[in-house]
């Protein structure tokens, strides 16, 4: 719907364009604070890591396609196995959902012009990029982390792992967690303070509830991992004793601290996917989400209860029975918020008039895989069964259905869904549907047989297996499935890449979405909205009167905020308008600080502690310079 903008409106829009414009070319990208550009930087960087993790997987699957294969040595396999997990979790799925989707969409969905801390947003990206490169330098030196993505001690300690492999792991992940923590702080403050007038908490989009839950989880989960990694480095390189029994330490300390992070982490992985699903379903079902408040609450509860279940990863370690039973009970409780959502999604589809275009098909696949993975998850809450199948391919099946089937499918569907918004063009629907089926069949064929393998006794993390175990046929079909899946993924990216340049023009709202990103142009201007929208429901873009009222305000000059680099802030619960914020514009400091931080971590890795101290000092000076000029002074 083309808006007729009259002269005063045009004048104001031009002023906004000038104020919010960023430098063109590489310099613009290096100093950007525009959340959309940062989202795109995250998007392409995480895709590269996705490719790396995928290659690692295909190499492993090739090695395992038959008994006694000799494609990879055990050393190489162990590094690939570890890097696959580390890459997919820390360098792909989390930065993709939070850094790419979250960054791009959150300000748009809440009717804001940017995140609360735009420069810290850029900082999160550069820190993420450098931490990923840091870890991969290890792989290129054939000294990649090799003790599995959860890196149990004593295997990860110096006597059993004397090289730099584990130091790449520990320092790399501490480095990475700074990025994630900064991002989480940014999302929480943005969601609390920068919502459009009238968007009280009960009117926030469900995607925003998911991002809020994710960010709170990161805040409370990451410190446990950081502590564990610091202990590890201190024990490895400074002679401290946390994990060895001889000096009063405990190997289970590593596991408790790791899983205290690690379990919330898997909810951090799945929550944005739930958020994407709850965005796509109402749009294509053409109705509001059924039981909206219950779904919003469920998203928060999943995160919260998820903090109480961690020891279910340790059921075979010999914990006292009472502890086993407690954690099993908690693990069953955490199912409820997920089952609420599954029924809400499927009932919404039934109650609406669903248009099964590609995005909704991916969500259909997501629901099927999520239920499958969730059901095997419930089985693990039956302690004796868990104690039989933990550390076997049954677990590998479970978590891949969840992480790939249930976290990645919404990402793929979300790429199609928001592609027209980001690029202004439409993808090819027929190819998109075909790519769904290829990916769906590939995923099922790759991961379903793993259930059987686990029951047949195939343990995890083995680089080969003998003949005569009955494992060969299943392994081979999984390898075939992996290649089919790869073909599906390549088809998706080919479709998007082609459509980016040759796709037909898509307007601001090709699917009839209910959230605010669909109320602005495709792609959105740097300033997102010429007029800050006033919101009166949870699906503001379906309130046509309100959106007309926005356009009227542009003519009158209300809520345009074109006197500077401005966005409004409101109160936390009711979004009562409060103040006008002057936002910082492009800045070199995030990149410079990230370089200093990278220097610090590299020096820690090579144990040049004095030089590390110099980098730390530089970082402090950069921080001071960053905060020296105040926004009002610009």
């Amino acid at each position: 719907m083309a808006a007729t903008v009259t002269e005063p409106g045009l004048e104001r829009v031009r002023r906004l364009e000038t104020i919010w414009d960023e430098p063109h070319g590489v310099l613009g990208w290096l100093t950007t604070t525009d959340h959309k550009r940062i989202g795109l930087l995250y998007f392409f960087t995480t895709l590269v890591f996705f490719g790396a993790g995928g290659v690692e997987a295909l190499l492993m699957r090739t090695q395992l396609s038959q008994a006694n294969e000799k494609v990879l040595s055990p050393e190489t396999y162990d590094q690939l196995m570890t890097m696959h997990g580390v890459t997919m979790i820390f360098l792909f799925v989390i930065p993709m959902t939070i850094g790419a989707f979250g960054n791009y969409l959150v300000p748009l969905m809440i009717g804001a012009r940017d995140m609360a801390f735009p420069r810290m947003n850029a900082l999160s990206y550069w820190l993420f990029l450098f931490s990923g490169v840091f870890i991969y330098v290890g792989l290129f030196m054939h000294a990649a982390p090799n003790a599995g993505w959860f890196n149990y001690v004593p295997l990860a300690l110096k006597p059993y792992n004397p090289g730099r492999n584990i130091d790449f792991y520990a320092l790399g992940l501490i480095f990475n967690s700074v990025s994630s923590t900064a991002a989480a702080i940014n999302f929480i403050v943005t969601i609390f303070k920068l919502r459009a007038p009238g968007m009280s908490m009960n009117r926030m989009p469900l995607f925003i509830f998911a991002m809020l839950a994710v960010s709170l989880s990161l805040i409370f989960a990451l410190p446990s991992l950081t502590t564990d990694l610091v202990f590890l480095e201190l024990q490895r390189n400074a002679g401290f004793h946390f994990f060895d029994v001889a000096h009063g330490g405990s190997p289970l300390l590593w596991q408790h601290l790791f899983w205290l992070f690690g379990h919330p982490e898997v909810y951090i992985i799945i929550l944005p996917a739930m958020g994407i699903a709850t965005s796509i379903i109402p749009t294509f079902a053409k109705r509001k989400m059924v039981a909206f408040p219950l779904v919003a609450l469920a998203e928060l509860l999943v995160a919260f209860i998820g903090f109480g279940v961690w020891a279910h990863h340790m059921f075979a370690t010999g914990l006292p029975t009472i502890q086993l039973v407690f954690f099993a009970a908690a693990s069953m409780m955490v199912v409820i918020p997920s089952s609420i959502q599954i029924y809400a999604w499927t009932i919404t589809v039934n109650l609406g008039r669903p248009d099964f275009r590609a995005p909704l098909m991916f969500i259909g696949g997501f629901i099927a895989f999520f239920v499958l993975g969730g059901l095997s998850g419930i089985m693990f809450a039956a302690i004796p069964f868990d104690q039989a199948t933990t550390d076997t391919y049954f677990v590998v099946a479970h978590f891949h259905f969840i992480i790939f089937g249930a976290a990645v499918f919404p990402i793929l569907g979300g790429m199609y869904y928001w592609f027209p918004k980001v690029t202004g063009r439409m993808y090819h629907e027929g190819v998109a549907k075909a790519s769904f089926w290829l990916a769906f069949v590939g995923t099922a064929l790759t991961f379903f047989p793993m259930h059987m393998l686990g029951l047949l006794g195939m343990t995890r993390r083995i680089y080969t297996y003998p003949n005569g175990m009955g494992w060969g046929a299943y392994n081979l079909s999984e390898t075939i499935g992996a290649f089919i899946l790869t073909a599906g993924l390549l088809m998706i990216f080919a479709n998007l890449a082609y459509s980016r340049f040759r796709g037909p023009a898509a307007g601001p709202d090709p699917f009839g979405g209910g959230t605010l990103e669909w109320s602005t142009t495709s792609p959105p201007p740097h300033y997102n909205f010429p007029v800050i929208p006033v919101v009166r429901s949870a699906y503001p873009n379906w309130d046509r009167e309100d959106r007309e009222a926005d356009r009227a305000r542009l003519r009158r000059g209300e809520l345009v905020f074109d006197e500077g680099h401005e966005t409004p802030a409101a109160t936390v619960v009711d979004a009562v308008p409060d103040e006008v914020l002057e936002m910082p514009s492009e800045s070199p400091w995030p990149l410079v600080l990230s370089v200093c931080t990278a220097g610090l971590f590299v020096m820690l890795l090579v144990r040049h502690y004095v030089v590390a101290g110099v980098f730390a000092l530089l970082a402090l000076l950069v921080l001071a310079a960053w905060h020296w000029k105040e926004p009002e002074e610009e």
Partner: protein
């Protein structure tokens, strides 16, 4: 229509595929769906019931999705329900039915079945076997006797055996799927598990916690023997290594003691007292070499001694360049150690 057919076909294929392991016998004896003890059987029953209920739950959701597609032109539930009915289903099925099912599962598995699979009081068992995980083999001891062996555990059939597991280095995990669940072997800790085989036979197990380069080749056999057979075996295991009988065997023994072998391996009754490798006192009575990496034959043993890295790369045993005479002598001596 096509979609629902496809979905039905997928479910049918899935169920059929799932049933396969139960009927397929071409497995290596490590199949938890062939339970051979009361404990393994309890887990087996738990599995099938959970699978049945899960398949039903999965079918419900798939049905709802298919229904949504089939009725995509109608904005209501089949019986005419709207938002209120929808919310009622979300609450009813998503919360209350789930709570009921989960509670039932919890009580059955985490209170009753757990009692069966948890390690019982040692006093209620008739024999204790101690297994120590080492990179990458299993040291097996019989407390109260002098018997020490590796990778092959003999137990009397239909006897409650208290297996105590620990490790000498990193975390390993002891798992013999047809007999019981797994238990981790953690430094400084002794974890116990019950082995109580219903039938005589050979049960295969494998290390189930990633423990380094050769985690993949750290397997074991549990032989459940008739009681008299077990007693004879144990009595033999207690004896020190048999003295060499021929000149070739004597040469082999001399080579063993003068080469690095005796630094890593023990042969009771000789000066060889190393502990980083498996006890070889009764090597010839074992069926495999290298924790089930190779069958224990003369030619395999000769190969292994000269180049174990070829079969188990990264294991702690170096290669040795030996003449045919030397190899023949060593193998002859080791094969004497029945």
């Amino acid at each position: 229509m096509l979609r629902s057919l496809w979905r039905a076909a997928t479910i049918a294929a899935t169920t059929a595929a799932l049933a396969l392991p139960a009927v397929a016998h071409a497995d290596g004896g490590q199949n938890m769906l062939h339970p051979e003890s009361k404990q393994a059987h309890a887990i087996w029953t738990l599995w099938w019931v959970m699978l049945g209920v899960s398949a039903f739950g999965f079918a419900v959701i798939v049905f709802l999705l298919v229904l949504g597609w089939v009725r995509r032109d109608r904005a209501s539930l089949p019986f005419g329900g709207g938002e209120r009915a929808g919310t009622a289903i979300v609450v009813g099925a998503g919360i209350f039915v789930m709570i009921a099912l989960l509670s039932a599962l919890f009580v059955w598995s985490d209170i009753f079945v757990l009692k069966t699979t948890e390690a019982p009081a040692a006093s209620s068992t008739r024999l204790t076997v101690k297994v120590i995980g080492k990179q990458w083999f299993w040291e097996v001891r019989y407390p109260g006797t002098a018997a020490v062996t590796a990778n092959e555990i003999h137990i009397p059939v239909r006897t409650r055996v208290n297996l105590e597991g620990t490790t000498a280095d990193v975390i390993h995990s002891f798992w013999v799927p047809e007999l019981n669940r797994k238990t981790d072997m953690i430094p400084g800790q002794v974890n116990r598990i019950l082995l109580d085989a219903d039938r005589a036979g050979t049960y295969r197990g494998q290390c189930a916690e990633y423990c380094g380069l050769q985690h993949a080749h750290m397997s074991m056999f549990v032989f459940a023997d008739p009681v008299p057979v077990f007693r004879r075996w144990l009595a033999n295991e207690e004896r020190p290594g048999r003295a060499p009988a021929t000149a070739q065997e004597r040469l082999g023994r001399r080579l063993f003691m003068s080469m690095p072998c005796s630094g890593c391996h023990t042969i009771r009754g000789t000066p060889a007292a190393g502990t980083s490798g498996p006890d070889l006192t009764h090597l010839a009575s074992r069926t495999t070499i290298g924790a089930l990496t190779l069958d224990n034959t003369r030619s395999n043993l000769a190969d292994w001694i000269q180049n174990s890295q070829r079969y188990k790369p990264g294991n702690k045993m170096p290669g040795f360049t030996l003449t045919k005479t030397e190899t023949g002598a060593l193998v002859a001596y080791l094969e004497r150690l029945r």
